[in-house]
Assembly symmetry: C2
Homo-oligomer: 217 residues x 2
């Protein structure tokens, strides 16, 4: 991430808008694959179940405006979205905790497609230190600082057991990591200037189970 970010990349968008942009991008990519040239907000709205005026507003943050009766140019829209979202650039990341979930995330080539390049893993388990998972080498935790420097890693992905999440996060921040993606259900505190994203997939399960129970399932 040494290259200069483009200026519109620096705008801090409202989080709901940011979460919708990848939906637009995924949809627009399929349109381009089917060689569709233009697309209206109405069509995007129908495909994604989002209000058309909301779509126009979200896209205007990126400086893109559709043309009356024609809509947006698909190729241009895809490129702008991809650049804006940072999916087109490669962000080097360290996987902290290479158990079941950590190994699964390393193996998921989808992350690569979205710009996340996992360059190394760290784990305390001596049985996996020195081995490779999907080509990614696993190191002991004390190699962290050197790995961050060697790979110019900016992101740390945390998939350790709950009770170690805070201390691992502290180590990542101390080693120079700028963004932490936390897959544990732990609520991590980070120093100022460090970005945190929480993806507690098991919490989503709990929400679904509860809704199913309410249905009598």
């Amino acid at each position: 991430m040494s290259e200069k970010a483009t200026s519109n990349n620096r705008i801090q968008l409202p989080e709901p808008t940011l979460r919708r942009l990848p939906w637009y991008m995924a949809y627009v990519s399929t349109l381009r694959a089917s060689e569709v040239e233009n697309v209206s907000t109405t069509r995007i709205a129908e495909a994604l179940n989002v209000d058309p005026s909301q779509i126009a507003k979200d896209l205007s943050f990126l400086g893109i405006r559709g043309k009356t009766r024609i809509g947006y140019q698909v190729a241009e829209l895809e490129e702008t979205l991809s650049n804006f979202l940072g999916f087109g650039r490669s962000h080097n990341a360290i996987m902290a905790g290479v158990g079941s979930l950590g190994a699964a995330l390393i193996a998921d080539s989808g992350l690569q497609r979205y710009g996340l390049n996992i360059v190394a893993g760290i784990d305390i388990n001596p049985q996996i230190i020195g081995t490779k998972i999907s080509g990614v080498e696993i190191f002991a935790p004390d190699a962290l600082k050197e790995l961050v420097e060697r790979f110019k890693a900016s992101i740390g992905v945390i998939a350790v057991p709950f009770e170690s999440a805070q201390s691992v996060s502290d180590s990542l921040a101390a080693a120079g990591i700028k963004g932490i993606w936390n897959f544990t259900p732990s609520r991590i505190r980070v120093p100022e200037g460090i970005v945190i994203a929480n993806t507690s997939i098991y919490s989503h399960l709990a929400v679904m189970y509860n809704r199913l129970s309410a249905l009598g399932e």
Copy 2:
């Protein structure tokens, strides 16, 4: 899911509360592992960075109240949370789409620990149909209805390419699936009576990239 749900399981909680309950459970589990007997809201609040009065309110939905100066009994709190969240029961699930992410989710034993039992996978790729991933057999899509019946599966996990998400969701609903866990960035529409949970992990990445860009990273 043929057994009767307990009565408090049927309460439909506010989603923010539901999302916090797994944090409490994860924390309380570590306390129990360290043989701590009682815990106060203040202590939970400190560990999880949540307001103590919010914690008391969330837990009161489950009919649990702490005792003055003692707090909550750890073992009781863990059991109530686990039962309420449905993590203690096994929910049979079909994985729809066994590419990189689908295979990773099948391999993640964490899901099993949280009550999600993936019993079979479906995929259109003839090269993997008939094979097993972490002991889970992969079938052709036309086996879906029979699989749902045979395994009494109530949940379908969608990890297919974006453009197939809606049609796969329709097939799952038609086959008798009651809950759909959507890992694609697609916005799926489901018939009434079907529960949907969206986990768009790549959207979280987009949010993080944007926040990092704002910092000049």
